[in-house]
């Protein structure tokens, strides 16, 4: 079948389809507009309603900053205790070797 014939078949179908009446109602169903308007305006209000969410994120940020600050402020004592741990470990290891040597 030639392409022109196929195109003609399509055009015939489309020409017939264009004549199909659409008798369905086009007015909004009862309550549709009220529901959509209420939903739309409620959705616009939501940014103000999500204050808790915004404060939660802010609180998380503040908590993270506090944690970093406290680690930085106490860095000296932390590193000192780490050094002490190293000495302790070293002492413990040498004493084990001493024991093993004896």
């Amino acid at each position: 079948m030639k392409p022109q014939v196929q195109d003609s078949a399509w055009q015939k179908l489309v020409a017939a389809a264009r004549r199909a009446p659409d008798e369905r109602a086009t007015t909004a169903p009862y309550g549709f507009a009220t529901r959509v308007a209420a939903l739309a305006l409620a959705a616009e209000r939501r940014p103000f309603g999500s204050l808790f969410e915004r404060f939660s994120w802010r609180a998380l940020g503040v908590a993270a900053l506090l944690a970093i600050g406290s680690v930085a402020a106490d860095y000296a004592s932390l590193s000192k205790s780490a050094d002490d741990d190293g000495v302790f470990d070293e002492t413990a290891v040498t004493s084990v070797f001493d024991v093993a040597g004896t």
């Binding site: 079948m1 015939k12 489309v14 020409a15 017939a16 389809a17 507009a33 308007a37 305006l41």
Partner: protein, 196 residues
């Protein structure tokens, strides 16, 4: 329903922006016929038309601040409606395979008639033809389907399609060409199956 000329869009939008629910309701009621016609013409499978219309209106309200007034408000809403329908069609990746067996007896007869008769008489039953055309269109990619539907079924010009979809005119032409080629292949395939 008042027509677009008598409806005060500017005043209504002004009231909607200050959260007047009655104005929002009026706007929905006025634009519903326009939106539902677009939805019905491009309704994706398994999506209820009212749900889709609601989604379009909610998008319209959420983007209201973006409306600059450069085009008439109904045109702006039409574009939202068309792109929302396209998004839904794109989400439905799989298109059911087109088979003779899925056609009603009348549809099969009609398709057989247009495939075999080379005269210019159009099929008599417009509703059957409408169903059949939509089944055939369902085989195309959503974007191609939209273009061919607007061109052939709704008889819009390339420029109008470009304005409605936001695609440039060359792209519209390419999609129309691709859709027609796909339809030709589909007819060839149907003809071959019918003979076998």
């Amino acid at each position: 329903m008042p027509d677009d000329e008598s409806f005060d869009f500017a005043g209504c939008l002004q009231r909607v922006r200050v959260r007047d629910q009655a104005a929002a309701r009026e706007l929905v009621e006025h634009l519903y016929p326009l939106v539902i016609r677009i939805v019905r013409a491009r309704l994706p499978r398994r999506v209820p038309e009212e749900d889709l219309a609601q989604e379009i209106f909610l998008k319209m309200f959420s983007r209201l601040e973006q409306y600059q007034g450069s085009v008439p408000f109904p045109h702006w809403v039409s574009r939202i409606a068309v792109t929302t329908c396209i998004d839904h069609l794109r989400a439905q990746q799989r298109r059911p395979e087109f088979r003779w067996a899925d056609l009603s007896e009348n549809e099969a007869d009609m398709l057989d008639a247009v495939l075999t008769n080379e005269n210019d008489t159009a099929p008599d039953d417009a509703l059957e033809a409408h169903e059949l055309v939509h089944k055939l269109l369902g085989q195309l990619k959503p974007d191609d389907r939209l273009v061919i539907q607007l061109l052939d079924l709704e008889q819009k010009t390339i420029a109008e399609i470009s304005a409605l979809t936001g695609w440039n005119q060359s792209l519209v032409k390419v999609r129309a060409f691709r859709a027609r080629r796909k339809l030709q292949k589909m007819f060839q395939e149907l003809k071959r199956k019918e003979r076998s």
